[in-house]
Amino acid sequence: MYLLLLQARNGGIKIKHFHQFKMMLSAQLKLTLREKQAWFWGIFFPVILMVIFMVIFSGNSDEEFQSEIAIVDPNPNPASEMLFTQISGLPVFDVKTGTPVSREKAEEWVKGQEVDAAIILPESADASSVLLIVNKEDEQGAAVQAVSGILDKFVQQANLFAAGAEPSFELQYKSVSSGSNELDYTDFLLTGMIALSIAQGGMFGMVDLVEMRRKGLIKRLRMTPANMGIFGLSDMVMRLLFSIIQIILLSLIGVLIFGANLYISPISLVVVFLMGALSFNALGYFFSSFSKTTEAYMGVANIVSFLMMFLSGVFFPVETMPEWLQPVSNVLPLTYFADGLRESMVYETSVISGTLWFGIGVMVIWGTITFILGSWLYKRKAIVADR
């Protein structure tokens, strides 16, 4: 990218350089296509990571919790029949066989873990206890806890009803999201993963530069009249093309397989994408400026990307993190890149938006500072400063 700046200083790209650009871009494309590592880390890895997270955290989110239970009505009477109708009417419970069974049968099912619990209804209209039988092994399990909680609430309501009292308080539950469109976890994760993979592409991708320098290729190119600005430009165009493939592929998987909902604002997306991709490339460029070996570079890139991955609201919202950590998230560029992509891909936020530009601003500041530092370090190390 420093090459781009050099180019700008030299007064723009001349038409006679177009052939050079074409050749360089074609070489860059071939290099990327033939580099197995690029495919693995740039395409395969983000896809796998996203699929794993989506399967674990959002695979069942659309389905309601349901538990299979058995109901025993030892001595059918109007009260127990009414309770049976009500309990089996609860959508969370799936009553095995749909009718009351014998206590022996129910206990056998519980022992065999064929049902999560068995509910023994009161033996007479006067008896008031409802017995819940669970398997000892499952006692602390989520399903049993839920069944017990639900049943407890149900019994309380029944008590109140029996006493003829109206509950004074009730809990109402409603989820809200900040935008006009609902953001569910699939959308959240999809946009986060796109941000992460583009960011990683930038931060890890500049390893080529370290390798080229180590092998003396940069020196070799400087011995020719090759325009290094065009070389930098072709490199950048190739990276952007690669990132576009990432966006399309991840979006397709997210939408087609996991049912993500995207409402894209194209202009916002292009702006956020370009600024984000350039900023993270600048970050990678900065790492490359002080790394002598590819191992050193990968070490630095790994640490930074790992920290950002978990502190920038890629997998979980920043708000769910401990409060003392949130200020850290609020300065990291990936936080704003992920947010920006959410704004432009899910909320359809128009490009004239203060929040959007605040985020872009933070990314650009990161990009500019790391780019200037990187260029300075490169220049300081270059044997011949300006040629």
Binding site: Q20, G216, K219, I383, V384
Partner: protein
Amino acid sequence: MTVLEVRNLQKSFGTIRAVQDISFSVNTGEVFTIIGPNGAGKTTTLEMIEGLVSPDDGEIHFGDLSWSKNAVAIKKKIGVQPQSSAMFDLLTPEENLNLFASFYDHARPTDDILEIINLTDHRKNQVKKLSGGQRQRLAIGLALISDPEIIFLDEPTTGLDPQARRNIWDIILHLKQLGKTTILTTHYMEEAEKLSDRVCIVDQGNIITLDSPSALIEKLTNEREIRLSFLDGENAAEEADHFSRNLESVARTEREGTSLKVWAVKPEDTLLDLFKFNKEKAYQVEQVSIREMSLEDVFIAFTGKEWRD
């Protein structure tokens, strides 16, 4: 005609004075070799001339052109093969050459270059699959793509097997036939002797001597080394040693077991005398050889140091 002139080049890296004071000029069409042990300052000298390292002091002129004023013009005039084989490993030789060709206004056709460096059969294989010698030839090919007047080859045969080295020599001799000027560095004396029109021996950042290989050997001495190996034991060798020391043309001798080395100004006369002596004594000689002095001897004579590859 002089194509390159270098005057009083100096370069230090920290406290190490890599190049202390180097001056020479190179003529059109010659193979000019800079030879010296590792760390002598060969590569630094070459990199200053190639414009990669700026000298602390001194001047470099390509005819009327200098790096400070005519960098692009010089880059079009020279072709450089650096020491490290810097090329794109995931591209094929053909793709590498085509890419480099796009940097120049008037590049030579890729097919011609592949022919010269004898890689036509491997044009479609990725560079990472090529052997060391093939890579080195491609590196030379990349230096030739711009059809340069002056070609810099920095240790092109280091680390190659004898056959691969000979292939590179053929390329260098071919370039000479094409009338190109070649500036070569090597630490193989044999190579310098075979290929060069003129040799410049450097050690510790200074030029020790500069001339044609034959003149250098001549300048050093007109002694030749005669080696004899006796079948009749150490006594015979010792007597022959004693005898030859009294001969007028003999400068010095050296004996080790049954073998004897005699340095003589007129080796033919000395040999005749030695054969007469052996005939009289009825000593049998197993091996006789006369060794020409080599650049290696020149180096040892000038620096007092053993040559080390």
